[in-house]
């Protein structure tokens, strides 16, 4: 077990399609997180930015971009990029610095200004880049992969499109209680069924949008938190950033083939969660709530199984029983998830930890999971970046 760090401040800039610079969103979230922590900018000893590839050069060097916007203060600065896992890698970097004694107070920021439509690869003729190859040869967008996983669930486990729609209904109901959500309104199953098919069997409302947004955390040593008067802060107990193990049997974008048969198609998602549980010294039975990466409705069900909340193939059963809804036994995505937010890539894994922080503090308002003491997040970044955070209070 590794040491723990404290979450002293958490904040987000609301998700949407605001059409502004990602720097504005990031600084707004950072200042709110500092206010939440009761700290001034000059208390920050390290700035960690989660990078973005969609905001030009300032996005590639997000750490210094945010630090400059807030006023260069000779702090330590770090930028990390790991696609969807950038946020948890940023948290991991800050945690390592704190636990190594290099700093006591770190500010972690992720922000994105997302283009409209499908994500596309970088320009140019680049046959060595698997992301280029999958678009060039197959036109295989991210939703096409989500649809392959969804269809596989239907064939193997008997999941139905109605099950998938119910994930949207559940998450939209939670998101309706979240002022930071891009779509803070309830959705019913008939609206999902009436939306256009994007990639059979998934419809538009089964698939997460791409959004603008930002999230920030003030992370400190436990000692600093105590000195600052926070006797019982939310603590980060584990950050899993592991890779898959060769040979890969999961068909993970941007790859167009596997190394092995498709029998262990969800193995990596389970492995990355297992690493987080082991680090935390906890197991699925200890978890009160989870924030998972519902890029599609069907994918949320894969995560139930990967996190050990349901046995393999029984994710839909958990959903149908109402166990993962607010008021259920183990609410999943009480924030409303990507279904209510859309994905702001570098901010998303940080936003998951913001939600856990509010849940564990009892500050989640109408979406509060009563008595939540332990939460887990799960996510994965392109090319095999595992991402899972365990927080406790």
């Amino acid at each position: 077990m590794t040491g723990e760090i404290a979450v002293l401040g958490a904040a987000m800039h609301p998700w949407g399609k605001w059409g502004q610079s990602f720097v504005r969103y990031g600084v707004a979230a950072a200042r709110s997180a500092l206010a939440d922590a009761g700290l001034a900018w000059d208390a920050v000893q390290s700035v960690v930015g989660a990078g973005s590839v969609r905001c030009g050069y300032p996005g590639y060097v997000a750490g210094s971009t945010f630090a400059r916007a807030m006023g260069l203060n000779a702090t330590r600065v770090t930028t990390v990029y790991a696609a969807c896992a950038s946020g948890s890698q940023a948290i991991a970097a800050a945690r390592d610095q704190i636990l190594a004694g290099d700093c006591e107070v770190a500010l972690v920021i992720g922000a994105e200004s997302a283009p409209k439509g499908f994500f596309a690869p970088n320009a140019g003729e680049r046959p060595d880049d698997p992301d280029w190859v999958r678009f060039r040869l197959l036109g295989a967008t991210n939703p096409a992969y989500f649809a392959l996983y969804a269809r596989r669930r239907m064939a193997l486990y008997g999941d139905t499109v109605d099950d998938f729609a119910q994930v949207k209904v559940k998450n939209a109901a939670a998101g309706a209680q979240n002022p930071n959500a891009r779509y803070p309104k309830a959705v019913d199953a008939s609206e999902v069924a009436a939306s256009a098919v994007v990639a059979d069997p998934l419809r538009l409302l089964d698939i997460c949008a791409t959004s603008d947004g930002a999230a920030a955390l003030v992370l400190t040593s436990l000692d600093f938190a105590r000195r600052h008067g926070a006797d019982k802060p939310v603590r980060i107990r584990a950050v899993s950033t592991r890779t898959p193990a060769y040979p890969r049997s999961d068909l993970d974008f941007p790859d167009i083939a596997t190394d092995a048969d498709g029998a262990g198609a969800t193995a990596f998602r389970a492995q990355l969660a297992q690493a987080a549980y082991e680090q935390a010294g906890l197991g699925p039975d200890d978890v009160d709530t989870a924030e998972v990466y519902d890029l599609s409705t069907a994918l949320e069900l894969d995560w139930y199984e990967a996190l050990g909340l349901a046995a393999e193939g029984e994710g839909a059963k958990l959903l149908r029983a109402g166990d993962t809804a607010l008021g259920g036994r183990i609410p999943v995505n009480p924030s409303g998830g990507l279904a209510s937010f859309g994905e702001a890539v570098p901010a998303q894994a940080i936003a998951q930890v913001c939600e856990l922080t509010w849940q564990l503090r009892g500050q989640a308002g109408g979406r509060q999971v009563p008595g939540a003491r332990t939460g887990i997040t799960a996510n994965q970044g392109l090319f095999g970046h595992g991402s899972s955070v365990v927080a406790v209070r």
């Binding site: 439509g117 499908f118 596309a120 690869p121 320009a123 003729e125 046959p127 698997p130 280029w132 190859v133 999958r134 678009f135 060039r136 040869l137 197959l138 036109g139 295989a140 967008t141 096409a144 649809a147 392959l148 996983y149 969804a150 269809r151 596989r152 064939a155 193997l156 256009a196 098919v197 994007v198 990639a199 059979d200 069997p201 998934l202 060769y246 040979p247 049997s249 068909l251 167009i256 083939a257 596997t258 190394d259 092995a260 048969d261 498709g262």
Partner: protein, 153 residues
């Protein structure tokens, strides 16, 4: 002048007239035998192997559908397409190869609809055309459901 036929991405399948017939081309690690598709020519990905030598191999042209979907909206570039023509959705398959057992994606032959497909259905590899205009024909592979034989209900 006839447009030139060019693979949409070089080195992934046999060229016209190859004695092996139309096949996907992968590589095997010369030391440990690990199989890679798309081809790996630099580093063996097996963590226990440091080989940098690879042998090109033709993959088995048959398999069973592992999963399937379709693309109802035009993908962004570099997917080649004629912007002036109405978009025609195509089916996209993930196929577990019969011999190698790896899962390989590919478009279905034009005209196949997802309603006709099932997980587990046998399919066969056939040469296909990804895009065609006045100057060039971009070639690729397609998966052809073996409708006439087993698998359909």
């Amino acid at each position: 002048m006839a447009p030139t036929r060019t693979p949409a991405v070089a080195g992934l399948f046999t060229e016209d007239g190859d004695p092996r017939g139309f096949r996907l081309l992968g590589t095997r690690c010369a030391a440990c035998g690990a199989l890679f598709f798309p081809r790996e020519d630099d580093f063996c990905r097996d963590p226990g192997c440091t080989s940098t030598e690879f042998i090109e191999v033709a993959l088995s042209p048959r398999g069973r559908i592992w999963s399937y979907t379709d693309c109802r909206y035009p993908p962004p570039p570099p997917y080649p397409r004629d912007q002036d023509r109405e978009w025609e959705p195509y089916a996209l398959l993930a196929v577990e190869l019969k011999e190698e057992r790896i899962v390989v994606m590919g478009q279905a032959v034009p005209g196949v609809r997802t309603e006709e497909l099932e997980v587990g259905m046998p399919v066969e590899l056939v040469p296909g055309v990804l895009h065609e205009d006045a100057d060039r024909v971009l070639t690729t592979w397609h998966w052809q459901p073996e409708r006439a034989t087993e698998g359909t209900r």
